[in-house]
Amino acid sequence: MADSHLLIDKHVQYIQNLGNSKDDLSYHMTAHLRMNAIYWGLTALCIMGHKEALDREEMIEYVMSCWDDEAGAFGAHPDHDAHILSTLSAIQILVTHDALDRIDVDRVTKFILSLQQPSGVFAGDMWGEIDTRFSYIAVNALSLLGRLSELDVEKTVSYIRQCRNYDGGFGNTAGAESHSGQVFVCVAALAILDRLDEIDQPSLCWWLSERQLPNGGLNGRPEKLEDVCYSFWVLSALSTLGKLSWIDSDKLTKFILSAQDTDRGGIADRPGDEPDVFHIHFGIAGLSLLGYPGLVDLDPVYCMPAPIIEKMGLRKGWKALPRRTLGV
């Protein structure tokens, strides 16, 4: 059932319950996503103003238990191999909890830098899968670790440039079709590197604004269906480029709210579907950028609570919609 309000209490409860689902088969089948899931849940809680809903110490201990000492980075779950995806999530969790002192920054930095390929793109791990997602992760993580100065910026940017398409968007590798998710990572990476001049802004913002469908939802590519997760990816790029007004924010807000599960809490990819923590995170992140009342600001570049990023002195020049007050 849809609702016109954000059911914060239910979503908080939903996220709290995730840790208690060990009698659920899907809980175990998704162990390879656990570190990301904790980051998604924690960030959503922070944005809803309920950071305390999950135990800080327990979470930090879990993160540390995923350290892969051979590789010098984090896996998704204890005994899982290190990967750049789980490593960024681990760093984000620790930064959010002001516990970065727990990790060996030198080793993590070394791990990340070792993944840069001659073309400038980053691999996800030693096995060599490449993707502009991994470039963003590297840039984001190094920035959070205060080690961006060790990155070959020109080389990194040159690969992202190769992934730019004539529609202004970016693909996951050179030659690939533009995709909202890749647009988010490439724009955010360029924002962190202060290289937004690499973007064909009129074309990209046109392409992004055309992601909105008549039902208010956003899709990831032309002639595809809408999905709540694109709410964040498209909005992040639009707010980084100062063009959030180019879509209908009321309709999008309604669409995200309509994808809530009003019984058990949670947000799904679209109305009527099964919710999950991934879509709660991106749905809440989207609502925060849209100025939804009562939420904490989200930094669209780092996809973390804005106050934390500001305190670290890392804030870029993005612009979200002004926060509305309740009842308006």
Binding site: H32, H179, D248, E274
Partner: protein, 330 residues
Amino acid sequence: MHGVRRSKQTPQAIATRKEQEKAEIKSYLALSDEVLGKKKLNDWSKDAFELTQRVLRRNPEFYTVWNYRRQIMLNGLFPHSTPEDINFLLSEELKFTSLVLRTNPKVYWIWNHRRWCLANIPEGPIVDDNTTQGWRQAAWDGELALAEKMLEADARNFHAWSYRRYILADMPAKRPEATELAYTKKKIQSSMSNFSAWHQRSKTYTALWQSGALAEGKFEPEEFDLVHSALWTDPADQSAWIYHRWLIGQGKDRAILEAEISLIEELLQEEPNSKWCMESLVHYKRLLLRNHEPQSSELLNSCRELLQRLQTIDPPRKQRYRDIELELSA
């Protein structure tokens, strides 16, 4: 969870499901513990190899197990194998992952594993004392066929498109780029909304120009006809409009620009509320203004009028049209 419908479950139904899942969870966790335990011990035996297969059949997202599987091959199996054996092992591996891929067409780890397999196929067989590329060519041909099969099932699967591009770029014996024009045309003709195919077509032309196989900026003679057909068949479909914008590019060729503008104006007459007609006319007329007729107040006024209409018929993007209007006045 994408596209899984929510079902209302009674507490009773949930309890029953959980009860049923108990045994499954137990066996899965035992399997998972066993495989991670062997991995910790650097067990690179054939048994361990088979165990990874059992785990991956149940959970193809378990990336650590894919990694372990490759470690077993590299450290346990390859060192004692002839090139023939390695070629056989890797082709069996590709067969296994095809099976898993069919039910999990969007799992990054599987696509990635295939790339690794391909990269490790040895040169051979040796014919008359010469090392041939026969094995590698056969594997690449098979992978191209697989990618195309996946695109028949889902013509927008970007994993399959990316993989296909990788295969084509890396083939031991390269195919002429022009065959890609025929392939993208076939995909477009079987679904004109398939923007992935239009996109690939634009990349194919770019590659043809870069290689010198086609003069820079030249297309097949019917290229514009193909796009026009699509625009007139469904003026609400974004795919062809975006491709059309690529064809026009910076609008340096005044004759083409003017011809296209007048054709779109005809379409607008037939379809007076077409947002994409109006939006594209604004874009092309602005190119005309910028490149060829900076003083034309007629063009300027026509753009303004179109932008006014767009604000009424396409309210979600109203602000964009206003911003462009402001830019025109500046």
